[in-house]
């Protein structure tokens, strides 16, 4: 009976495999302890009582989902800052490389100037919204259940995260176009691999952040639905 209950609980927690494994181990110890402490000595009945006292696995999973979602939101807030910092370092490294190699600026023209402005503006918007979002979610206390107040806080954080990734993407795309203009204007050489590698790092940072924000948005919605039906 305990094994069957643990299976159901682990399945209900499959949105977070690491959490599911940990909770399963912890709950198994709890239930075995409860059975051992049962005064009746009837093993099967003791198991039934221990499981009944523990509660509905879906309700417990709903409570864990809020904790897990809160942790995920904080991780996304931190990841956004790391992604922005790494993208910034990659961009600075590329510009440093250009200066070191005394690369010609190339035919930038009005488009180039506009792209540089977009790049700068979008990058600082991403820094600002990312930082506000990270500080905002990190200072919120994760409640026992998904309260309307915490739901609204998560919603605000999701919006800030999307603003961050949209701005970072705009910055990275502008960087990409600027790099392409520069590389197309110059004769091809092995030295071009450095700017290309730095662009790849920027794209990877933005891509990974985009995926993690999308996952968090989906989980926020599914946890909200589960909390309403629990």
């Amino acid at each position: 009976m305990i094994s069957e209950y643990l299976e159901r609980l682990a399945k209900a927690l499959d949105f977070d495999p690491a959490l599911s494994r940990r909770v399963r181990r912890e709950v198994e110890d709890h239930l075995r302890e409860a059975v051992a402490a049962d005064p009746t000595g009837d093993g099967r009945e003791a198991e039934r009582r221990a499981v009944a006292r523990f509660g509905d696995p879906h309700v417990i999973a709903t409570h864990f989902a809020v904790v897990s979602l809160g942790k995920q939101a904080r991780r996304v807030g931190f990841a956004a800052m790391v992604a922005i910092a790494v993208a910034f370092i990659a961009m600075k490294a590329r510009l440093g490389w250009y200066a070191l190699m005394e690369c010609p600026t190339g035919p930038m023209g009005t488009l180039g100037e506009a792209l540089v402005s977009i790049d700068r503006c979008a990058f600082w918007v991403s820094v600002l919204s990312g930082m506000v979002g990270w500080i905002y979610i990190d200072r919120r206390r994760i409640p026992t259940t998904l309260t309307p107040e915490y739901g609204a806080q998560l919603h605000r954080f999701v919006l800030l995260s999307w603003a961050t990734i949209a701005a970072l993407m705009a910055s990275v795309i502008s960087d990409g176009v600027l790099t392409a203009i520069r590389l197309v204007a110059a004769p091809w050489s092995f030295d071009a691999m450095i700017p290309l590698a730095s662009m790849l790092i920027e794209l990877l940072c933005a891509g990974m952040l985009l995926v993690s924000i999308r996952d968090m948005t989906q989980r926020t919605a599914s946890t909200g639905r589960a909390a309403r039906t629990a």
Partner: protein, 110 residues
């Protein structure tokens, strides 16, 4: 009403010393003389959340039975949080007691 005070209840139970989930629940039942008979599973998300918030520290140990179990200890931050919540609760409790058992008769506003 109990749900709103689960954090304080769990922190208070752990203020006596480190304990695993089952022992925390038993301590809550014992100290409340059975008044707080919660579904036992509701305590674990609270333990995880308090650990995440840095109010508890958890570590895996091997019990005498050979099973692995997670033991929680209240941190200094957790103890400060408990002290603050207890102070607020005592103020609230005193105010309610004064209100419900107060000697001053209510004045008719009319």
């Amino acid at each position: 009403m109990l749900k709103g005070h689960l954090d304080m209840i769990v922190l208070a139970a752990l203020s006596a010393g480190p304990a695993h989930g089952y022992a925390v629940i038993e301590e809550i039942k014992r100290r409340s003389a059975g008044a707080f008979d919660l579904p036992e599973g509701t305590i674990y998300p609270v333990l995880h959340r308090l650990e995440q918030a840095g109010l508890l520290a958890g570590r895996w140990v091997t019990a005498d039975s050979g099973r692995r179990r997670r033991v929680y200890t209240i941190t200094k931050r957790g103890q400060r949080e408990l002290d603050e919540r207890q102070a607020v609760w005592e103020q609230f409790s005193d105010a309610i007691r004064s209100l419900t058992k107060g000697r001053r008769p209510w004045r008719n506003p009319a």
